[in-house]
C-alpha cells in the first residue's frame, strides 16, 4: 500500500463461513482510509455448499477487479482445503492467514478422496514465518458463537495494517452488522487481534 502500489488480498472459504462479511469490513476500512477499492466475488451457488472466493484490492487507483494470478500479497482463508487450493496465487513474499478448520467436501465425505494432509506445514515449507494459523472457530466458540470466526480472522489480519486504527475496524463492524451482534463481533475482533 506504500508508493501508491495496489495491495492484493485473496479471501477464500466455504459458503456460509462469512467470507463476504469479512471482505465488506475490509472495504469499509480501506475506503475510509482514503484508498480506491475493488472487490470481486463469485456469486450464485455459494449457499449450496460450494467454495467462495473474493478478490480484494486497494491502492491509489485500482483498475482490474481481479488479482493477477501469482500476485496475492495476503491469503486470508477460512478453511484449510480452500487455503491450499490457492497456494500458487501467493507471491513468494506473501503472507498467509489461515483458519484452522476442516469442512469436508463431498468427495471426502463419500470416501472417494482424501482431505489434503498437513496444510499448514505445506504453507510453511514455502512461506516460512509468513504463515499464521488461527483457531478462529475455537476462539469464537469461547465467545459464545462460532459464526463470529470470520471476524476473529479479520482481527488477526488487522495486525498487518498498524496504520489503521482498531476503532476503524470496530466502526465498520458496527455499520455492517445488526446492533444485537455488535458486542460479540467486536470481542471477536479483539480476540483475533491478540491471537496473532
Amino acid at each position: 500500500m506504500k508508493d501508491g502500489k495496489t495491495t492484493n488480498i485473496f479471501l477464500s472459504g466455504v459458503g456460509g463461513q462469512g467470507a463476504i462479511l469479512a471482505s465488506n469490513i475490509l472495504a469499509e476500512v480501506f475506503i475510509k482510509a482514503g484508498y480506491d477499492v475493488k472487490k470481486a466475488e463469485v456469486h450464485g451457488m455459494a449457499q449450496r455448499g460450494g467454495d467462495v472466493t473474493t478478490h480484494f484490492r486497494f491502492g491509489k487507483k485500482v483498475y482490474s477487479p481481479l488479482i493477477k494470478y501469482g500476485d496475492v500479497d495476503y491469503l486470508l482463508s477460512f478453511e484449510l482445503l480452500e487455503a491450499i487450493r490457492y497456494i500458487n496465487w501467493v507471491k513468494p513474499e506473501g503472507k498467509i492467514i489461515i483458519n484452522n478448520q476442516k469442512i469436508l467436501p463431498p468427495a471426502v465425505s463419500l470416501g472417494q478422496m482424501e482431505y489434503p494432509k498437513d496444510v499448514v506445514k505445506v504453507f510453511k515449507k514455502y512461506f516460512k514465518e509468513n504463515v499464521y494459523a488461527i483457531d478462529g472457530q475455537e476462539i469464537a466458540r469461547k465467545l459464545g458463537n462460532i459464526q463470529a470466526a470470520n471476524v476473529v480472522l479479520v482481527g488477526a489480519f488487522s495486525n498487518f495494517f498498524p496504520e489503521v486504527k482498531d476503532e476503524q475496524f470496530v466502526d465498520a463492524i458496527k455499520s455492517l452488522l445488526a446492533p444485537k451482534l455488535h458486542d460479540l463481533n467486536i470481542k471477536a475482533f479483539y480476540e483475533g487481534k491478540k491471537a496473532l
Binding site: P65, K68, G70, E114
Partner: protein, 603 residues
C-alpha cells in the same frame, strides 16, 4: 457529492433511479438478478416487478416507454434470446420515454447454459450498446443510456458481464432528476407503433438514418476516450477488458470504447495514426476486430493471441500478449489433484428424494434450469438434458413422437415452479393439442431458488413482498386440457415412485405437482415444520456400511472408514455418519436404508 462502494448491479439501479426511471421489469438470472431487487428495496419512485419471463419484462418496459416513461428491463445474456422478439421490432418503432435493456453476460459460464456475446445484439438490432467496466461506469453509462435513447428515438443496450455486475467499487453519485417528457398515449402515432409492412418500410429507413446519426454521435461521445502514452503500442478495448489490460500494460496507449456499437470510425482511424501497432483486446467474440479490420485498419494482434472463449483476466491478457516472455508463477502444488467442492442440493431439499425416485424408476429425465439441474452430478446422475428454460417439456413431447409407443413408461420432464411459469405452459398445451403422451413434474418449491429467492406469479408475493394473486398450477393443467393432474409428496419416496410410474405408463399427457415441499432456505414457508423429527442418527448396532444412503448425496452424510461389525455379527468396512449440525430430519436417508439403521435422534 456522495461516494459509496456499490456492486455493479447496484450501480445500474442507482443510475436508473437518478435518470428518472419510472418502470423496471426483470426476470432473475445470474449475474443480473440483484438489479431489480436493489431497485425494489431502495428506490420507491420506480415501479418494479418480476415478470414471468424476459420477453414479458421487455414488453412491460417497452409499453411504459411508449407511454412516455423512462423504463428498463434487465436480464442475463440468455434472457435476451427470449426477449429478442421485442427488441428487434421496438428497435424499428423507437420510443417516447427512454428505454434501456440491461444484458449481463457470463463469460466462463460461472452459472449459465452457454457463453454468448451480447454485443452482437446491437449490430443485429441496429441499436446502440454501451459497455461499462466497473461500478462507476455502470452508474454513469446507465444514466447516459436514457439520454441517448430519447435523443435518437431508440432502445439502448447496456451490456455488463460477471466481473462487472458482481464486483464492487466506488461510485460518485448524485440525485434523481425526473424526466421532462410528458406521460400519455397518442392514437395518431399508430404509424410509428403499428408494424404492418407499409409502416415497417418507413421505419426501416428511419433505423438506417438513425444509425448514421449515432455513428456521428459516437465520434464525440464522452465515454469513448483516447489515452496517449507510449505510442509504440495502441490498444483498442472496452469494458472490463480495458481494466485487465491497463493493469498489466499501463505504459501503452489506449482507445477505450464506452460505446461499442456503433463504432466511432473516424476516432479509430485517428488513433491508428497516432500509434505504431494496434492490439485489440476483447472478451469472447472478435466483435471489434471484425469491424475494425473491415475499415481497412491494420491490426497487429487480436484474436490470434487473445482467447475467444471463457473470460479474460490480467494474467490471461499478459500471457497471451507476452507469449514466451511471460513469467508464470511458481507451481507449489497441483490444485487439480485436490478434492473439488461442487455445489450440492441443501440438506433436506425436496429435489433429492424426487430425483432418487426417478433414478430408481430408470426414467430418462428431460431437465431444465434451476437448482435441480444439480441432479446431473454423481452419485444421483438423474437428469439427462438441460437446454433452456421450459425446454424439457417440449423435448419430452418431441422424443415421445420420435419413439412412439416404445417411449411409454420411460420418459419424464421436470422443471421448477418459476421455470414452469417462464416457459413451461405452452409446451404442455402442445402435448395435449397434438395428442402426445408424457409426464411433466413441477418441482414446486414455492420460489425461484437458484438465483436467490425471487418471487414469481406462483408465489403469492410481489418483488416488494406485498401479498398478491397467485397462479394455481392444477388449474393451469386442467385449462390446457391435461386430464390427469396429480399431487405427490416428494419426501415419500415409495408413494412418489408409484404415482410417477402409473402416470408415465399412460398414453396421455399428465402433470404431477410436488406439494408441501418448499425450498429449505425459504423461511416464510417454514420448511422444517413438516418434518416429524428434528434429525436422524445412525444406529451403529445395525449399520452394515452398505453405503446405500450415500447414493442420495446429502451434505449431512459422510463415510467413516473402520472395520467392525453390527450387533448381530455382520462384518463391515465402516459406517456412515450424519452430521447433527447439518441434518434437518427430512427422513429421506432413513427411507433408503434397508437395515433400519437410520433412526430419529434428538437435537
Amino acid at each position: 457529492m456522495k461516494k459509496e462502494i456499490l456492486q455493479g448491479n447496484a450501480a445500474v439501479a442507482r443510475g436508473a433511479w437518478e435518470a428518472g426511471v419510472k418502470v423496471a421489469a426483470a426476470y432473475p438470472g445470474t449475474p443480473s438478478s440483484e438489479i431489480l431487487k436493489d431497485i425494489a428495496d431502495n428506490y420507491p419512485e420506480i415501479y418494479a416487478e418480476w415478470a414471468p419471463n424476459e420477453m414479458v419484462a421487455a414488453q412491460v418496459a417497452a409499453g411504459a416507454a411508449v407511454a412516455g416513461a423512462r423504463a428498463m428491463a434487465s436480464m442475463k445474456h440468455v434472457g435476451m434470446n427470449v426477449a429478442a422478439d421485442v427488441l428487434m421490432t421496438i428497435a424499428y418503432t423507437g420510443i417516447k420515454g427512454g428505454l434501456m435493456f440491461l444484458i449481463a453476460d457470463d463469460p466462463n459460464v460461472h452459472s449459465s447454459q452457454n457463453e454468448q456475446d451480447s454485443r452482437n445484439w446491437a449490430r443485429f438490432a441496429k441499436i446502440p450498446l454501451l459497455e461499462p467496466g466497473d461500478a462507476q461506469e455502470c452508474y454513469e453509462f446507465t444514466k447516459t443510456a436514457f439520454d441517448i435513447s430519447e435523443q435518437f428515438d431508440t432502445p439502448v443496450i447496456v451490456r455488463t458481464e460477471t466481473r462487472v455486475a458482481h464486483s464492487d467499487s466506488l461510485v460518485e453519485m448524485g440525485d434523481r432528476v425526473e424526466s421532462k417528457i410528458p406521460l400519455g398515449l397518442d392514437p395518431k402515432e399508430a404509424p410509428k407503433y403499428v408494424m404492418v409492412p407499409a409502416h415497417v418500410r418507413v421505419r426501416r429507413k428511419a433505423v438506417e438514418e438513425r444509425m448514421k446519426k449515432l455513428e456521428e454521435f459516437a465520434e464525440t461521445f464522452k465515454y469513448n476516450k483516447m489515452e496517449i502514452n507510449d505510442t509504440s503500442v495502441g490498444v483498442i478495448t472496452s469494458g472490463v477488458s480495458y481494466m485487465y489490460t491497463k493493469e498489466v500494460f499501463p505504459e501503452w496507449s489506449y482507445l477505450k470504447l464506452g460505446m461499442v456499437w456503433p463504432l466511432p470510425k473516424k476516432m479509430i482511424a485517428e488513433f491508428a495514426k497516432k500509434v505504431k501497432k494496434i492490439i485489440i483486446v476483447e472478451e469472447l467474440d472478435p466483435f471489434l476486430e471484425t469491424e475494425i479490420k473491415a475499415m481497412g485498419i491494420k491490426i497487429w494482434h487480436g484474436k490470434d493471441l487473445i482467447p475467444n472463449m471463457y473470460e479474460l483476466s490480467p494474467e490471461i491478457v499478459e500471457q497471451s500478449l507476452k507469449g514466451k516472455k511471460y513469467k508464470a508463477p511458481k507451481i507449489r502444488i497441483k490444485p487439480e489433484d485436490l478434492p473439488r467442492r461442487p455445489p450440492n442440493l441443501c440438506a433436506g431439499c425436496s429435489h433429492r428424494p424426487l430425483f432418487y425416485a426417478l433414478k430408481k424408476l430408470g426414467a430418462f429425465v428431460f431437465g431444465d434450469i434451476g437448482c435441480y439441474t444439480l441432479a446431473v452430478a454423481p452419485p444421483l446422475q438423474a437428469l439427462h438434458t438441460t437446454i433452456c428454460m421450459g425446454s424439457g417439456v417440449g423435448m419430452l413431447h418431441g422424443a415421445s413422437k420420435a419413439l412412439g409407443k416404445d417411449g411409454l413408461g420411460k420418459i419424464v420432464a421436470v422443471l421448477g415452479d418459476s421455470t414452469f411459469m417462464h416457459a413451461g405452459i405452452l409446451p404442455l398445451a402442445d402435448i395435449v393439442y397434438n395428442k402426445g403422451y408424457g409426464t411433466v413434474i413441477v418441482l414446486d418449491n414455492r420460489i425461484t431458488g437458484m438465483t436467490g429467492h425471487q418471487e414469481h406469479p406462483g408465489t403469492g408475493f410481489t418483488v416488494r413482498q406485498e401479498p398478491t394473486n397467485m397462479v394455481d398450477y392444477k388449474e393451469i393443467g386442467n385449462a390446457v386440457g391435461v386430464k390427469s393432474v396429480r399431487y405427490i409428496d416428494p419426501y415419500n419416496i415409495k408413494e412418489s415412485m408409484q404415482i410417477i410410474k402409473e402416470e408415465m405408463a399412460k398414453d396421455e399427457p399428465s402433470l404431477i405437482l410436488c406439494k408441501d415441499s418448499p425450498c429449505m432456505l425459504l423461511r416464510r414457508a417454514k420448511p422444517l415444520e413438516r418434518f416429524k423429527n428434528p434429525l436422524y442418527v445412525i444406529d451403529t448396532d445395525k449399520c452394515r456400511g452398505c453405503k446405500a444412503c450415500l447414493e442420495i448425496n446429502c451434505p449431512a452424510i459422510s463415510w467413516r472408514e473402520g472395520a467392525g461389525q453390527t450387533a448381530d455379527g455382520h462384518k463391515r468396512k465402516g459406517t456412515v455418519y450424519i452430521n447433527p449440525d447439518q441434518c434437518v430430519g427430512c427422513e429421506v436417508c432413513a427411507q433408503v436404508c434397508k437395515f433400519e439403521a437410520i433412526v430419529p435422534g434428538k437435537k
